[in-house]
């Protein structure tokens, strides 16, 4: 799965957690979840749970802590998908 495909998939995961649909639409690797998408920090755990389900992976707490922007999130998802194989 390419980074671009995961970025598009992440937009679906993030959609219920942000009111700023424009920022979500133009999301790139540098887009920060809390600052740019105005996502409530408490919801980050929900986003991780939803991403785990979508990609059938498990994101441990240490990996989750590294996620600030979309690029970090894609890195972690790719890493966990690789570990699974």
């Amino acid at each position: 799965m390419s980074r671009q495909e995961i970025l598009e998939g992440l937009k679906t995961v993030l959609a219920p957690y942000t009111m700023d649909k424009e920022a979500l639409h133009s999301m790139n690797d540098e887009t920060e979840f809390i600052k740019d998408l105005k996502i409530n920090s408490a919801n980050l755990v929900d986003i991780i749970i939803d991403a785990e389900e979508r990609y059938d992976i498990e994101i441990d707490a240490d990996s989750a802590e590294k996620i600030h922007n979309a690029g970090d999130c894609i890195d972690v998802i790719l890493e966990k998908m690789k570990e699974k194989i």
Partner: protein, 418 residues
Amino acid sequence: MVTGMGVVAPNGVGIPAFLNAIQNGVSGLKFMPLYEELHFNCQVCGVPDFDFSHLKDYLSEVTFHGLKGSAIGYAIKAAADAWIDAGNTLYDGKIHWETGCVFGSSIADPAAMKRVIALVDAKQSRKLGSRVVEQLMNSGSTAYITGLLGLGNRIITNSSACATGSQGVLMGYEYIKHGMAKRMLVGSNEFVDNYIFGAFDAMRVLARKFNQTPEKASRPMSATACGFVPGSGSGALVLEDLDYALARNAVIYAEILGGATNSGAQQGTGSMTSPNTEGVIQCISDALHNAGIEPKDIDLISGHLTATMADKIEIENWAAALNRRGEDFPLTNSLKSMIGHCLSAAGSIEIVGVILQILHQFIHPNINLEDPNPEIMAIADAKSFPVKRVDKNVNIVAKANFGFGDVNACVIFSKYKR
């Protein structure tokens, strides 16, 4: 002053549907196949015809996503409707420092708790996510309401069993009366799931003889009354200082004259589950005193009257407190004949019923009272308990609820006379 109303009741969601139902004696009780499967004695329940997705009209997409609790859903609907009914708008971007909230329930949300128990026991607590705690908190409904409406005054979650709703309304009134707030959003909610229902069923206090005819199951004051029928829902009111209401040209539906809440301390005839007669009589007398009215002024009693053995004791307590008996006993009705006993939501839903009767000048029927209990009719004349709607002047109504823990609440409502 009462300036707004919202309701989610087993026999009507929203004020127009609820008004139509109580005017025409429509029952909201249904047979529950699941309860038959679970071997409950009582298999009838009051369930609002509530479309959860309708909450999208009130909540942002982000807030709606992850909201699961029916109890909170009922509360949001009732409270937001009351707020809008009072002439306000949602998402006006203001903090209403002058407006507070008292909202209560018996149990926050057993269905949400069940999910926590299942996932924790399966060692999968990490999958619970961030939205569970806010829906487990006793203050969950209050928190959702105050955030949605932007309320900035005192925010309180109350709980006193079946007296919760009436007590919350009284608390809101008292805060305004004592100048602590200009407006209070008050109400209560309850979601009776199969666990709560099962616990009441185990006490053998529920109606078990009418499972095939659910609309007949709640029979307050009848000879065949054999227990109450639990129900779910929520009622909400906007209470408002008179000058504040007049200044913003609010429509005033009715006035609260006063009230009282106390406890019989589980002494004398009182216990955890039944009221001390002395406490009830004192509560009603204090309510009248605080409202500045005489017993003869009461046009209607909206009773607690659940369809248990306590109905007779309640009527005797009213008769003793008011010193009105036989043909002199006030007209009396029990909304529970139509919707069952909505526990903590009973008071607020029944108070919405009271305001509607004052506003539209009618007395709703007591359904299922084909066979009045002779012991009750020995205290008050049968004509005091109308079985058909009565269209008449309704100026002053006494509303009371009595709850487990021997807590009492009585509130006196009046038609608003400018």
